[in-house]
């Protein structure tokens, strides 16, 4: 594996940072998801401004994927020593590549699940527009989607945690 990757002549640290960056990409999905939900929320609030608080809660739900991405990115940065006082540790190219691989679940699942969750949240916001008492159900529908982001977060985390330097 080393020989193939060294073709590109990048260092192990580079791959580790690429991993951190990939994990943080989950924020793309959150931004899109919150955007979708926000459009629906504005529509409902235009009918009844009193529902602002309720729909805001629903709008916030697709935001967690971005946080999960941040979380994995942060753990990677800690692991390679970029955030500690002692500077970056030396890692081999394959170790770096492992970290990159570990970042993929949350990076990819984060993007797509947050978009899907944004759509579910938007539908939940419409539900609250018609039946304000059903807020909890709208929240649960959106949270059903989040399960898969949670699972991806776990896998990414467990992978990074078990990579030894």
């Amino acid at each position: 594996m080393d020989s193939m990757i060294t073709l590109f002549n990048f260092s192990g640290q580079f791959y580790a940072l690429l991993g951190a960056a990939t994990a943080a990409l989950a924020g793309i999905g959150s931004a899109i998801g919150i955007g979708i939900a926000g459009q629906a929320a504005a529509g409902v609030v235009s009918e009844d401004p009193n529902k602002f608080g309720q729909v805001l809660v629903l709008q916030a739900l697709p935001g967690t994927q971005g946080i999960y991405g941040l979380l994995i990115a942060f753990i990677i940065l800690l692991k390679v020593g970029l955030l500690g006082g002692d500077g970056m540790v030396d890692i081999t190219v394959s170790q770096g590549a492992y970290i990159f691989a570990a970042s993929l679940p949350i990076g990819l699942v984060g993007i797509f699940s947050a978009i899907a969750q944004g759509k579910a949240a938007a539908a939940g916001i419409m539900l609250v527009g018609k039946k304000p008492s059903e807020l909890a159900k709208g929240m649960i529908f959106a949270a059903m989607v989040e399960t898969y982001a949670v699972l991806a977060l776990l896998i990414s985390f467990l992978m990074i945690n078990s990579i030894q330097f």
């Binding site: 999960y68 909890a136 649960i140 059903m144 949670v150 977060l153 776990l154």
Partner: protein
């Protein structure tokens, strides 16, 4: 601690006491009166009875209510005092409320007064708008020294209008000159869009001039209802606007002073609402010439009070236990500790009257799960203290009160798990001590640090999940046995218990003792074969075999259910690590005063955000574990909540004196 027993109640009384009896029942507030529509078409009844009802007064009181709420809304806009953060019902003693009833008519006058003033203000505001528009439209003509209504002399026509500024003025002049040698035009003014002109032309040529102008984009302007010069009119209008403004502020002043009656008007609203409900309930009562009949539901424990009341009023009545399987309204009663968690059940669905109330069973798990997900001692203290203050400061009621109380309890659990895992605003204390003060402090978790040993917490989460699911299945078995379906309980629940426990022993029992693996193996086989054989017992022919296979395949759903509890770890990590990120950001400015200030700012903003988002996350995901995984095992829901005929008030809470 569960669903309260409800009895069926039928009552016959004399019409002459009806109003009195209904008022007493409303005061008592423990009887739900059913709709009697079916009796009216029932052959046994229809010849004897007719529908009671007083729709006219319901209608007139509905109108009154909308008048009152319009007045309240108007006053609310002009209320000067400080509004409370949370609007709660004001406790009022029954006697006090009854005294108020006597002065009620006067309040209605105030309501009408408020509404007419408010209507007048709206009228004045639209007048003001109209005049402002007129002033704006006159603005280009201020320098035009001819009365606006003047459209000609004996031999000439005069007309005014606008030309787009994009059209060159010289070309317009040329066009007019070409059309007539006895016409001329004056430029009055121009703004960024249009040029305003006045044209005078001899009568014979005016059509030709107009045509020429139209080709250049001229649009004529005619002022209706304006006599005199623009400048004079503008001055006049402005004077009127000033006058209207004065009137508006004097009317508004009146509303300000009337806003002290807000409370009285709120009382009045509730008074009318009570009367309305009293009249509306009549449509659920049937009557003969001299007597009336209604039936409904009453909690069994209140039977004594109801009997005493009905005896006193001379009614005939009958209590019956509901028939087996009959759906009755549902009244929940919990122990003090479980009560706030009723909110979680209610947000999902009211249980139906034939099943268990899940609240006492979900409460401990909800408490535990919420704490595990938030797991920060600092956040726990803030949550508990914050909710405690809310409860002390405001007289909360209903669902909101339950939720606040529930979060208060969950804060305790959050604190507990925070201490176990060593989270105090994440790692704030060691980080702050190191970067600002330059000393090393380590706070050791009481149990372990989940960031370092995530597998331990993952296993712990899955075990908790397994227990949660087993409790849910146990409740299902209990309900099946209670309904006499012992075979179903054995086949659908106990065989699964054997299989699932067997599989776990087979998988991990070996690390304790090899014998456990062996036991697990046989348990699994017994369970699996049992499920395979009994799974299709309700089906015929080939269905018996496929049904068994189908049931056994259901094992995948148990796998996904248990894995779902891994979110306990994931959300716990999310809180802890994001808190760590915030603290790291805060420490970037280093030590000294500057560093401390940066740290504090990062702390306040960052932790507020993190706590808000994670409290929301913990709430949603703890609920999800109850709704999808736990309720999926046994809970049906779909009941209707017990809704007795009582005083339903919006602004005041009428308190009966304790005898």
């Amino acid at each position: 601690m569960a669903i309260v027993n409800i009895s069926k109640l039928s009552v016959i009384g004399l019409n002459e006491n009806k109003a009195d009896i209904l008022k007493a029942i409303m005061d008592l507030g423990v009887i739900e009166i059913n709709n009697q529509e079916s009796k009216l078409t029932d052959e046994d009844w229809s010849g004897l009875i007719e529908k009671d009802g007083d729709e006219e007064s319901v209608y007139s009181m509905d109108i009154k209510l909308s008048e009152v709420s319009a007045a309240l809304e108007a006053l609310n806009k002009y209320y000067k005092g400080k509004k409370p953060l949370i609007k709660t019902r004001k406790p009022v003693k029954k006697e006090e409320f009854e005294t108020f009833e006597k002065e009620a008519e006067g309040v209605y006058e105030t309501v009408k007064n408020v509404n007419s003033i408010y209507k007048h203000i709206s009228y004045l505001k639209s007048e003001e708008n109209r005049l402002n528009t007129a002033v704006i439209s006159l603005k280009p003509w201020l320098k035009y020294d001819v009365p606006l209504e003047m459209n000609g002399t004996k031999y000439t026509d005069i007309f005014i209008g606008s030309l787009p500024i994009a059209v060159e003025y010289e070309s317009v002049v040329a066009a007019v000159n070409e059309a007539s040698d006895k016409a001329c035009l004056y430029k009055v003014s121009e703004d960024e869009k249009d040029r305003y002109i006045s044209v005078i032309s001899i009568k014979e040529h005016s059509e030709g001039v107009k045509d020429a102008l139209r080709k250049k984009g001229f649009s004529p302007i005619v002022f209706e209802d304006v006599i005199g010069k623009a400048a004079e009119n503008t001055a006049k209008f402005q004077e009127q606007i000033e006058e209207i403004k004065k009137q508006i502020s004097s009317e508004e002043e009146k509303l300000y002073s009337l806003s002290e009656y807000t409370e009285k008007i709120e009382y009045y609203y509730d008074l009318i609402a009570i009367k309305r409900d009293g009249a509306a309930v009549l449509s659920n009562i049937v009557k003969t010439k001299t007597s009336f009949y209604f039936d409904g539901w009453c909690p069994k424990e209140k039977e004594g009070e109801v009997k005493a009341l009905l005896d006193e009023k001379g009614c005939y009545y009958e209590f019956k236990a509901p028939e087996k399987g009959e759906q009755t309204p549902v009244l929940l009663r919990e122990s003090a500790l479980a009560e706030p968690f009723e909110a979680i059940t209610e947000l999902y669905s009211t249980p139906n009257s034939n099943e268990l109330d899940p609240t006492p069973f979900l409460a401990p798990f909800y408490f535990l799960f919420f704490g595990l997900m938030l797991s920060d001692a600092g956040y726990g203290i803030i949550l508990t203290v914050g909710c405690f203050i809310l409860l002390k400061k405001f007289r909360l009621e209903g669902m909101f009160k339950k939720l606040v109380k529930m979060f208060m309890y969950c804060g305790i659990s959050t604190f507990f798990w925070g201490v176990m895992f060593g989270g105090y605003f994440g790692d704030f204390i060691p980080v702050a001590a190191k970067s600002v003060l330059g000393i090393d402090i380590t706070i050791n978790p009481l149990w372990f640090n989940p960031t370092e040993e995530p597998m331990t917490l993952l296993v712990f989460s899955l075990i908790l999940g397994g227990i949660h699911l087993f409790v849910g299945m146990g409740l299902k078995a209990y309900m099946l046995i209670r309904n006499g379906q012992v075979v179903d309980a054995v086949c659908d629940i106990f065989l699964w218990y054997i299989l699932l426990i067997g599989l776990v022993l087979f998988g991990v029992g070996g690390s304790f003792s090899p014998a456990l693996t062996e036991i697990g193996k046989y348990m699994s086989i017994v369970g699996a074969v049992g499920i395979l054989v009994t799974g299709g017992r309700d089906k015929k022919g080939i269905g018996k075999i496929t049904g068994g296979l189908g049931s056994l395949y259901g094992i995948t759903s148990y796998l996904s259910d248990v894995l779902s509890y891994s979110r306990l770890l994931a959300l716990g990590l999310a809180t802890g690590v994001v808190a760590q990120v915030i603290n790291t950001l805060g420490s970037l400015a280093g030590g000294g005063v500057k560093g401390a200030i940066v740290m504090i700012v990062a702390f306040i903003i960052g932790h507020t955000f993190n706590m808000a988002i994670n409290v929301l996350g913990s709430f949603v995901h703890s609920s999800r574990l109850q709704y999808v995984e736990f309720f999926g095992k046994f809970f049906e829901g779909g009941g209707t909540i017990f809704n007795p005929f009582r005083r339903k008030t919006k602004y005041v809470d009428i308190i009966k004196e304790e005898k």
